[in-house]
């Protein structure tokens, strides 16, 4: 019953958040300079035609009217059509004015549905790498405060946090792909293509996770119930893995929920560098082409993902620690 009430409450809140994000993005996109019709129709198209297309598309209506129309579509699962991408393939736009391709522009939903699984795969692998690495470095660090494993964890996370991801991406691609030839780097033709970008993202995520894990594990190890557990006769393994890590995982989980948003930002750069066909690359291109419907669609989908992940994280946290109330 608690879970049901929790989910209903949080999903309603989440829907409100997504609505507000959409409103914000929608408004911002329409007040920034740059006329998307000009980009769609091409530099050579006559002014009158541009006005006509803009009117047809409803781009000259008041923003709230446009927003209402848009949201009416969104609730029916229609995120609109891309301004610039044809349904058939590569992005158009540029200077040439070809009327033909405009007639069947790509559905935003389809574009996102193609790219999203790729990014989810990348993100999942990155989180798995980051968690594995953080536990490997952070758990010994947390169990030995102020001794060498703790310092090692501190140095490792300091170094990682100082590495810029665009630089690291290029260096790793050069090393593993070009020099050693172990892993493919550019584009996507199979699972192996996910590994290098995931490592770059993981290195970006890991330092904060390591610091958090060493810190919270060290403080949980100070709790009275850990000290008493030994006197009660529990073994070291049970105490650390059964109790200390269980308690330390709650702050880690909460942090992970926040880090996911950072991950969505990191994906932009990393996917662009590795030419990885995910949501990040789609976003970069959409922004460069002022493809309003696509940008909006991505914003809605990303905020929905973010909201859902945080609901999930809080739910797991309350299942681990029954004292929490969300």
């Amino acid at each position: 019953m608690f879970i049901l009430s929790f989910l209903v409450r949080r999903l309603l809140q989440g829907a409100l958040i997504i609505f507000l994000v959409t409103l914000l993005i929608f408004t911002l996109l329409r007040v920034v300079p740059g006329d998307p019709v000009r980009l769609m129709a091409g530099g050579m198209a006559p002014e009158a035609l541009i006005e006509q297309i803009a009117k047809q598309m409803g781009l000259r209506d008041p923003i709230l009217v446009q927003f209402g129309r848009y949201m009416a579509g969104v609730v029916q699962g229609d995120l609109g059509q891309s301004f610039v991408r044809p349904a058939s393939g590569a992005a158009t736009g540029g200077s040439g004015f070809s009327d033909a391709s405009r007639s069947d522009r790509a559905e935003v939903l389809t574009l996102i549905a193609d790219a999203l699984p790729m990014t989810l795969q990348l993100a999942a692998l990155a989180i798995a790498f980051a968690l594995a690495f953080s536990f490997l470095v952070g758990v010994p660090g947390g169990l030995a405060p102020n001794r060498w494993p703790d310092r090692l964890a501190f140095y490792v996370s300091s170094i990682f946090v100082s590495l810029p991801n665009f630089w690291l991406g290029i260096v790793l691609a050069l090393l593993f792909s070009v020099k050693l030839g172990w892993l493919p780097a550019i584009g996507y033709k199979g699972f192996a293509y996910t590994i290098l970008p995931a490592i770059v993202l993981a290195i970006e995520l890991a330092p904060v996770l390591i610091r958090n894990l060493t810190g919270s594990l060290a403080s949980v190890m100070q709790s009275p119930f850990i000290a008493v557990a030994r006197v009660r006769g529990l073994g070291r393994q049970r105490i650390v893995y059964g109790h200390a890590l269980r308690n330390a995982s709650v702050p880690l989980l909460n942090l992970l929920g926040i880090q996911i948003s950072g991950l969505l930002g990191g994906v932009l750069i990393v996917e662009f560098i590795f030419d990885y066909p995910g949501l990040g690359l789609l976003t970069v291109n959409a922004v460069m082409q002022r493809d309003f419907p696509l940008i909006q669609g991505i914003a809605i989908v990303s905020s929905a993902i973010f909201v859902l992940i945080n609901i999930g994280v809080d739910l797991i946290a309350t299942l681990i620690d029954p004292r929490l109330e969300y």
Binding site: F225, R232, G233
Partner: protein, 607 residues
């Protein structure tokens, strides 16, 4: 002695080893624990009791270290056993500490953790078998509906309930001896009395020898066959309890016995009420406060926690007004209403003819100036990185004393008054003792020259000696500044010593208000009698716990049943008590109590 001792301690010494040197904590500790014996160990805070109790179970961690000596169990020195060999022995060596709420993992059900312990020390124990045994034992320590409680989490247990569960945890493997370190200290008196009775019963049933460590001589003397007195890390006296109290030998023991508060003897202090002049300083009129807490078991339900119910009383200038009751009775919620940290849902708190909930701006600031709070926890109530001078000057800044020189002068004057040296002005509170910290708290409250100080369990964390000193300080301040005190406390002995009028709270209601003498010698309400029966004291009791209190704990303030709230624990409850709720009735001239028995007694009120 036919049987060899269960445990032999020989020449045990423990040191504190820090970078600045080594300090001896315990030295020359030697004693034997006979089978089925209850050995009491008593000492002031800082005498090394807790270190000793931990050394007995080999729980000495750096910076503490064993300097010499041995703790022999079954002809092995458990201080030298490697962890691998010691762990199976934990089955026979049990320990219960003073912090029940922190002793188990908060994220796992209580039952599962006890089963985990049993299985860790008894390899090959079947899980279902262990669970059956735990549920049976939870029932044996009188935890209600043990099969259901087994699956609940530590946060769902009260302190007393948790201490019972930990006793189960300790005794589940039939240990040869049990070290009980201050087990009753965090508990309310009525619950502590029950836990003590339980421990005695169980040690007989399980044939366990007990080392019972406590800072309360009355508690130890009731429980133990023999008492060791510990002072400055040494055993200074060893006696049977009766002899110890009759003819204490060591000066420390003599002092300890002299500090035990007197409740009913001729030596007990008499606190007279001051002349009532004019109007009450503060009146609380029929105030109620209910908190809404989300109900986890339902979709959108809330529980109403009725923390304060229909409380009415007046406090007159110059009084020492006491509010007593056990944890969860609503004392602190009432404090929040009196100090306008919160406003009552219904009813009002009146000061100077004005409802304080309606104050704002300058008027509210004036009210705050007159009513200052001193809180319970001396460690968390002071900001650790602010100098003591700045802490005391803080309120002056808020109340518009802009000149730094004036603030400093005032702060130093107050520090002098409460007995803090001026040299502490620039120090951080870091190195201060609990007593000094409470003085800083008092100074911070006094700096604004208030009319009323509300003391929320201000003395509970201090030992007897410190309490004495601070109480003396309070009466000096009162004489000098004409202060009024409101003491909120669970400590009946302290209240007996200082308060002229006392309100007894139970489950959010004031069940009795009476003058000091009347309350202690002729209480009107059965709950007051129960509280009096549970005071740890060496005196001959006026009220026996067996006659005054039924087993159990206060019901939850959520969804209170109709009728008198004390009916479930009252040995004198009858039909009407379960249906109607009694109101405060005049009982004698200067007392009021909420009990039907007083009505039926009619005019024949016991004098």
């Amino acid at each position: 002695m036919a049987n060899p001792p269960v445990l032999s301690v020989r020449d045990l010494a423990v040191e504190l080893r820090t970078e600045s040197g080594t300090r001896s904590i315990l030295s020359d500790i030697s004693f034997d624990l006979e089978p089925r014996q209850i050995m009491g160990i008593i000492g002031a805070s800082g005498s090394g009791k807790t270190v000793l109790s931990r050394a007995l179970v080999n729980w000495i961690d750096p910076p503490l270290a064993i300097a010499s000596g041995s703790v022999i169990y079954k002809s092995q020195n458990i201080l030298e056993l490697p962890p691998g060999q010691l762990r199976p022995l934990r089955k026979e060596i049990a320990y219960v500490g003073a912090n029940p709420m922190g002793a188990l993992d908060p994220t796992l059900p209580v039952g599962a953790q006890i089963v985990e312990k049993i299985r860790a020390v008894v390899p090959g124990m079947d899980k279902a078998e262990a669970q059956r045994r735990v549920i049976e034992l939870l029932g044996a320590v009188r935890i209600p509906s043990p099969a259901q409680r087994f699956h609940e989490y530590p946060s769902q247990f009260s302190g007393g309930m948790m201490q019972r569960a930990l006793i189960v945890d300790a005794l589940a493997t039939n240990p040869a001896f049990l070290v009980a370190d201050n087990v009753t200290q965090p508990l309310d008196v009525t619950v502590a009395a029950q836990v003590m009775r339980l421990m005695r019963e169980l040690t007989e049933r399980f044939d366990t020898a007990v080392v019972f460590v406590s800072s309360s001589l009355p508690t130890v003397s009731e429980a133990a066959d023999q008492v060791l007195v510990l002072a400055d890390g040494r055993i200074v006296e060893r006696q049977t309890p009766a002899k110890l109290i009759r003819e204490p030998q060591h000066p420390y023991t003599v002092q300890l016995i002299s500090e035990i508060p007197q409740i009913w003897t001729a030596a007990a202090p008499v606190v007279e009420s001051p002349e009532r002049s004019g109007t009450p300083l503060i009146s609380i009129e029929d105030a109620t406060r209910t908190y809404r807490v989300r109900k986890r078991s339902s979709f959108a339900g809330y529980n109403n926690v009725r923390a304060v119910r229909n409380v009415t009383f007046d406090v007159y200038p110059g009084e020492n007004f006491g509010i007593v009751g056990e944890s969860g009775c609503g004392k602190s919620s009432l404090m929040r209403l009196l100090s306008r940290l919160e406003s009552p849902d219904t009813g009002r708190v009146v000061c100077d003819g004005q409802d304080i909930a309606k104050l704002s701006g300058a008027e509210l600031l004036k009210f705050r100036r007159d009513f200052q709070l001193v809180l319970q926890d001396p460690f968390n109530s002071l900001p650790p990185r602010t100098s003591i001078g700045a802490i005391i000057e803080g309120p002056l800044k808020v109340h518009g004393v802009n000149s730094a020189a004036k603030r400093r002068e005032r702060a130093l004057a107050v520090m002098h008054e409460v007995g803090l040296s001026a040299a502490l002005y620039d120090e951080l509170p870091l190195g201060l003792s609990a007593g000094q910290r409470q003085r800083v708290n008092v100074a911070r409250a006094m700096v604004l020259e208030p009319k009323v100080l509300i003391m929320d369990e201000t003395l509970s964390s201090l030992d007897q000696t410190e309490q004495f000193k601070l109480l003396k300080l309070f009466s000096q301040l009162q004489a000098k500044h004409g202060l009024t005190y409101i003491f909120i406390s669970h400590d009946m002995a302290m209240v007996r010593r200082v308060c002229n009028r006392i309100a007894v709270m139970y489950l959010g209601e004031v069940v009795e208000i009476a003058d000091n003498g009347k309350l202690f010698f002729d209480p009107g309400h059965p709950y007051t009698k129960a509280l009096l029966s549970a005071i740890p004291t060496l005196e001959k009791r006026r009220y026996r716990p067996e006659d005054c209190l039924l087993e159990g704990e206060p019901p939850s303030p959520i969804d209170l049943p109709p009728g008198c709230s004390f009916a479930s624990r009252c040995p004198k409850a009858f039909g009407r008590c379960h249906a109607e709720s009694p109101v405060l009735t005049v009982d004698g001239k200067e007392g009021m109590a909420a009990c039907f028995l007083l009505e039926s007694a009619g005019g024949r009120i016991a004098a």
